[in-house]
Symmetry: C2
Subunit: 131 residues, 2 copies
């Protein structure tokens, strides 16, 4: 277990998960937030790419395996309470969001309404029908 | 309820919470991640400053009320799944973390160890003993 000791220092929640924030290492843009379990965080470090835990599908989610929009890991950080991780990544294709946008935070509160202010860069049909 | 309609579009988790990421609006630095309930998110918008929900203390947490390290709101964003919010903020005092560091992600994974690579900017004793 000594090899994986750093994983023991993460405070996993009652479901065994930790929030993982992915940030573009060049621009600083916050790309997305997803969840990791112990296995996915271990694999993220091993493979130096973001591998999340899909809560909806209850399986490992190798970011980009279908879309090609892999997130190569530049650094992995843990917060003061050890219950959030921050990944600085290189976002392949410049698209992190399944909607085809550069990032997932494309709705901004404006006069009491969430308004989309980030354009779709690529039609999701083109992203996910390539195989 | 029409005034608060934007709050209804947030997908609160089973505890009525949503993760809230605070990012420095100038530098892009991810400062911290905490949680908000409906009331705290409504207040964040009303008062244009970050107001979280403290899970450990089970109460509203007006960021900076004790330390003075208020986070003034510049923008409020919602992600594609409507279950994460991103706040672009002006971090008063340049310190977001209760340890006296500029941000909370001061531990970086390096050769299998979490290593602190961000220095304390101000002794927490000085931050929290001012009243």
């Amino acid at each position: 277990m000594s090899v994986n000791h750093w994983l023991d220092q993460v405070k996993w929640d009652e479901k065994g998960l930790v929030p993982a924030i992915a940030q573009d290492y060049l621009t600083g843009q916050v790309l997305m937030m997803a969840w990791m379990n112990r296995e996915s965080l271990a694999l993220t470090e091993q493979e130096q790419r973001a591998i999340y835990w899909s809560r909806s599908r209850a399986c490992l989610w190798r970011k980009g395996e279908e879309s090609g929009h892999v997130q190569h890991l530049h650094s992995l950080r843990l917060d003061c309470d050890a219950d959030v991780v921050l990944l600085e990544v290189e976002q392949v294709g410049g698209i992190a969001c399944h909607t085809g946008r550069p990032h997932c935070f494309y709705k901004r509160l404006d006069a009491g309404q969430w308004r989309e202010d980030i354009a779709v860069a690529k039609d999701p049909k083109e992203i996910y029908n390539h195989e």
